[in-house]
């Protein structure tokens, strides 16, 4: 019998729909999108025209010395020099979560605090540095080229900066990464190994990070920012990419309460399962995701009928949304349950490895503040979605139990069950 309760005790956002909790909450409720026209490669006519843009930051300069960020963040140069663009976002998100959860410098280094991160690394910096090495015939290698560009850069940088002495790890399961990080963070706390785990996801917004997905025709070619990302819609044609960073504190409830931290939600359990079928395409019947949902529900000890809201992974790709639909039908429709299902990627775009922690933070806000975001941009629901409850507007009903889905390359699926906090 598990006695430790794991809660979300802090959130930090740098996203296309806002760089602070209040703005993100307002935009989720009002379904105000963060997607804009975006020129991935100036001077070209690429078929992909939109992205979930990050406002208030400018990381277009090739060197960190030329980057700009919102007032209020003091970033030491010895930290900045090792960061990729999304590391800058992540620094700001982490500073928010540390303040939000009332963490002190002493707690960060007490060995009871861990750090789990995920990003794809920085393909932009990697290209820049590799070109430099190649063009100089090996004579010029920027000192921080490796640690600032490879996957793992977030955990390298922030474990060092904050002096983290607990568990530190990176996750590399593509778009399921930070959901897995939250799941394993939950395990670390319930097993008594750690009292709290900071989970951070981040991604660059650049042609190197996003436009490369056009190679598999996964990106929307719809040039209209208001209609390009339309999960579950009959006319969806691919996902819209976004960058940013989100940080979330998972913590033993007793520890959070003793410190007087705000508690947004309780993480009740999680589950994961792999499709075992394709390197890049989800199983057509969503079998792996259905198993992951079942395991998450079992882990949390709840039934499909008890779930009040599902935050779907649905990225707006024709095949991915269909496979998640099949999985949802297998778990919910088959059990006679019709919880509201929505994908907030219609507002934000798809944050790749960051998506799981970003959308879990959205769920935590909905649980704490009593709302369910609707499906923005959904005009003509795909007939295949029959039986699913897909609200088009925000639901002012306070959910008690929420399921969060994530799926990634290679068929990795991870799901979380969160509950409204009741002390």
């Amino acid at each position: 019998m598990r006695t430790t309760r794991v809660v979300v005790s802090g959130i930090g956002f740098v996203t296309s729909i806002g760089n602070d909790r209040a703005t993100v909450s307002r935009n989720l409720r009002e379904l105000w999108p963060g997607i804009e026209r975006f020129d991935f490669l100036p001077g070209t006519e690429l078929p992909v025209k939109v992205a979930g843009t990050i406002k208030g930051f400018d990381t277009t300069a090739p060197q960190w010395a030329g980057w700009r960020w919102p007032a209020g963040y003091t970033i030491p140069k010895d930290v900045l020099r090792g960061l990729p663009p999304h590391g800058l976002y992540a620094f700001c998100a982490l500073e928010q979560v540390i303040a939000d959860s009332r963490l002190t410098a002493e707690i960060l280094v007490d060995g009871e605090t861990g750090l789990f991160c995920s990003s794809a690394g920085s393909p932009r910096l990697m290209r820049q540095y590799l070109n430099q090495i190649h063009d100089s015939r090996g004579e010029r290698i920027a000192p921080m080229s490796v640690v600032s560009s490879i996957a793992g850069t977030l955990n390298f940088n922030f474990a060092a900066h904050y002096g983290i002495r607990g568990a530190v790890a990176g996750f590399a399961s593509a778009c399921a990464s930070t959901t897995q990080a939250l799941g394993y963070g939950f395990d670390e706390i319930t097993l008594g190994r750690q009292r709290r785990i900071l989970v951070v996801g981040g991604e660059d917004l650049s042609w190197e990070s996003i436009y490369t997905f056009h190679g598999m025709r996964a990106l929307s070619r719809n040039p209209d920012p208001a209609r390009a990302s339309r999960p579950f819609d009959r006319d969806r044609d691919g996902f819209v990419g976004t960058g940013g960073a989100v940080a979330l504190m998972l913590e033993d409830a007793d520890s959070a309460q003793a410190r007087g931290a705000s508690i947004y939600a309780e993480l009740l359990g999680w589950g994961q399962a792999s499709d075992g079928s394709s390197v890049a395409i989800t199983h057509p019947e969503g079998q792996g995701l259905a198993r992951a949902m079942r395991r998450a529900l079992d882990s949390a000890g709840v039934t499909p009928a008890e779930i009040d809201y599902v935050n779907a992974h649905a990225t707006s790709t024709p095949t991915g949304d269909l496979s998640e639909t099949r999985a949802l039908q297998a778990i919910f429709t088959a059990a006679g349950a019709r919880p509201p299902v929505s994908s907030t990627k219609a507002l934000t775009g798809h944050g790749l490895s960051m998506a799981g922690v970003m959308e879990t933070a959205f769920c935590a806000l909905g649980l704490a503040e009593g709302f369910i975001p609707g499906n923005a941009n959904l005009e003509n629901p795909d007939p295949a979605c029959e039986g699913l409850n897909l609200p088009r507007t925000t639901v002012s009903h306070a959910p008690r139990l929420v399921l969060k889905n994530s799926s990634g390359f290679g068929g990795s699926n991870a799901c979380l069950v969160l509950r409204r906090w009741e002390s």
Binding site: P62, Q63, W64, A65, P76, D78, R81, R140, M144
Partner: protein, 124 residues
């Protein structure tokens, strides 16, 4: 001279974006004049910008015997960052084993003057 004024203009736009204007001004002035004092302001200005803790006064005003590690808290990565950028700005290549001999501000000045101007006697 290792760079022309036109090359320096392009290089400054690309590589000194975000640096204090005085560093850029000194860099462009050095490309025009070749004056050693301008070179000092570039090299020490870059190092000062990279230092995690600001020095008590501008590096160009500190004694040449000021030690990089002990007095300024300059770690090895900051040193390599400084040298890497300076190599790129002046289109030179510094041998790795020479870096080990750079321990004071005068060492740093002299190092670049020798490589860029070929005038070891100009070391302050």
């Amino acid at each position: 001279m290792t760079i022309t004024p036109a090359e320096a203009q392009m290089s400054a736009t690309e590589k000194l974006n975000g640096f204090p204007p005085a560093v850029t001004e000194s860099y462009l002035a050095f490309a025009e004049s070749g004056e050693a004092s301008r070179l000092d302001h570039v090299v020490l200005g870059v190092l000062q910008f990279y230092l995690a803790q600001p020095p008590p006064q501008p590096l160009v005003e500190l004694p040449g015997t000021t030690r990089l590690v002990e007095d300024l808290g300059c770690d090895s990565l900051t040193m390599v960052d400084t040298l890497f950028l300076a190599e790129s700005l002046f289109n030179i290549r510094l041998a790795d084993d020479e870096l080990a001999r750079v321990s004071t501000l005068d060492d740093l000045r002299g190092h670049f003057q020798r490589h860029i101007m070929g005038q070891a006697e100009m070391t302050a």
